[in-house]
């Protein structure tokens, strides 16, 4: 249970980090280390070089820019959980963070690290799917912006090139007064979820849905937007029947089966948790279903 030897690098600037990633052989990025270090301790991952982004100030900070909340990739999960900006502008993210691991791991774990690791049961990729976040990726070739639906490619697989890092995440800020809901089922608080759902609802006059987003996670190999549910809700008056009918579409997400839960159970959970997440979102948007 000890990692194999490696060389450690602690760059202070983004450019320096990008150069290290482009030139060093068998190199990995160390963000918060809460997923990578266990894998190194088990020697599932053996690297020659580790580039610690913990000292790169360019990768930190929270700012509102042009109606979007921009979060530096190296922001600690705990800092986001307690951030007034996150609570005010992207409350879905604040709520989801309380389900991420434990306080001890959120004190170290980062948002960028979680997105790059891309565990199918992780909460933060699901939140990015619901918002269709834009990820800013940095390398020696410069910056490029990738929407989350093009970033998430499959089971623990992302669009990151080997020498690329996530620099920042941008979440679109939904209209003030929108509702959010987040539910997951895990055997114990802090465990990886067997399944979960994240929902956003923007509701206008006459309880008519102006915008809806529903993402389920832990069900398939990556977080999945339930387009059919969103389409069924949008433009119509919301209520408990509309939510029940729309959430039924979560059953159609092709589930994975493993020792923790069978596919049919995961699908069942996806549907039930979608109803709960949408119901919370509607309630917070001022509609009691």
């Amino acid at each position: 249970m000890k990692p194999a030897p490696f060389d450690y690098h602690a760059p202070r600037h983004l450019k320096e980090a990008a150069e290290l990633l482009a030139t060093l052989p068998n190199v990995k990025i160390l963000a918060g280390g809460q997923s990578l270090v266990p894998m190194m301790n088990f020697r599932y991952v053996i690297v020659d070089h580790l580039v610690d982004l913990g000292h790169v100030d360019d990768l930190r900070g929270i700012a509102v820019i042009d109606g979007r909340l921009r979060i530096g990739a190296m922001m600690r999960q705990r800092d986001l959980e307690t951030s007034p900006e996150v609570a005010r502008h992207c409350p879905l993210l604040a709520e989801a963070l309380r389900h991420v691991g434990h306080r001890q791991t959120r004190n170290r774990g980062t948002i960028g690290g979680s997105l790059a690791h891309a565990d199918p049961a992780a909460e933060l990729p699901a939140v990015c799917a619901a918002y269709d976040a834009v990820l800013h990726l940095a390398s020696i070739r410069g910056l490029r912006s990738v929407p989350f639906r093009e970033f998430s490619l499959g089971f623990m697989t992302t669009a990151l090139a080997p020498d690329e890092m996530i620099a920042a995440i941008e979440l679109p800020i939904w209209r003030s007064g929108h509702g959010h809901g987040f539910h997951e089922f895990a055997r114990r608080h802090g465990d990886f979820a067997l399944a979960g759902a994240a929902a956003l609802l923007d509701i206008g006059a006459g309880n008519v849905v102006r915008g809806a987003a529903l993402a389920v996670f832990g069900v398939a190999e990556q977080p999945v937007r339930v387009d059919a549910a969103e389409a069924a809700l949008t433009g119509k008056a919301i209520g408990s029947t509309a939510i029940q009918n729309a959430a039924a579409a979560a059953w159609l997400v092709e589930p994975i089966s493993d020792i923790h839960a069978g596919g049919d159970y995961r699908r069942h959970l996806a549907q039930v948790l979608s109803v709960r997440a949408l119901t919370d979102a509607a309630r917070r948007a001022g509609v009691d279903g």
Partner: protein, 171 residues
């Protein structure tokens, strides 16, 4: 492979060492400094026994490399008792049968030290949620939760609750 000069302040005392990059903070504390109060259960971030405070925040010391803590201030279980006097929380653990074999205790104490610092009046549910990242295989959570609530009350200036009978219900 690469050794690095590292300076870490542990329980108020500064220590400089040249260490391998792969040395975890937990092994630095135990093997370089001889502070064996920090226990290693699983070494992959599940059991919480190795929890320490890094710059005032709990962290699993098996999931940090010592070189990452360069320049940081670390508090271990050895740093909780001032001048041989148990902290209020430690005393409450003793009085409420909050430990049996003692293996998980250092991590429990550090986790709860952070909780009680940030939340003077935690509910039982909040204590239990805080403890989800620390495993006790003697199944002694009842006594631990009781100790945490008792310590919170004592820290608020209330009178300590009556110590539980030695049988320690809930085990």
């Amino acid at each position: 492979m690469g050794k690095q000069a590292t300076r870490i302040t542990v329980n108020g005392k500064s220590h400089a060492r040249v260490v391998e990059a792969r040395l975890t903070l937990a092994d630095f504390l135990r093997h370089e400094l001889g502070l064996t109060g920090t226990h290693l259960g699983c070494e992959h971030g599940v059991c919480g026994a190795c929890t320490v405070l890094v710059d005032g925040h709990t962290a699993r010391s098996c999931l940090m490399f010592a070189v990452q803590a360069n320049g940081s201030e670390v508090t271990t279980v050895e740093g909780l008792a001032a001048d041989g006097e148990l902290s209020v929380l430690q005393q409450a653990f003793m009085d409420n049968h909050g430990l049996q074999c003692g293996f998980c205790t250092p991590g429990m104490l550090i986790t709860l030290t952070e909780l009680l610092r940030d939340n003077a009046e935690p509910s039982e549910a909040e204590v239990r949620e805080a403890l989800t990242g620390n495993l006790c295989r003697c199944t002694g959570y009842a006594g631990i939760v009781k100790a945490a609530l008792d310590a919170a009350q004592r820290l608020r200036g209330g009178t300590p609750s009556q110590p539980s009978p030695a049988s320690g219900g809930g085990r």
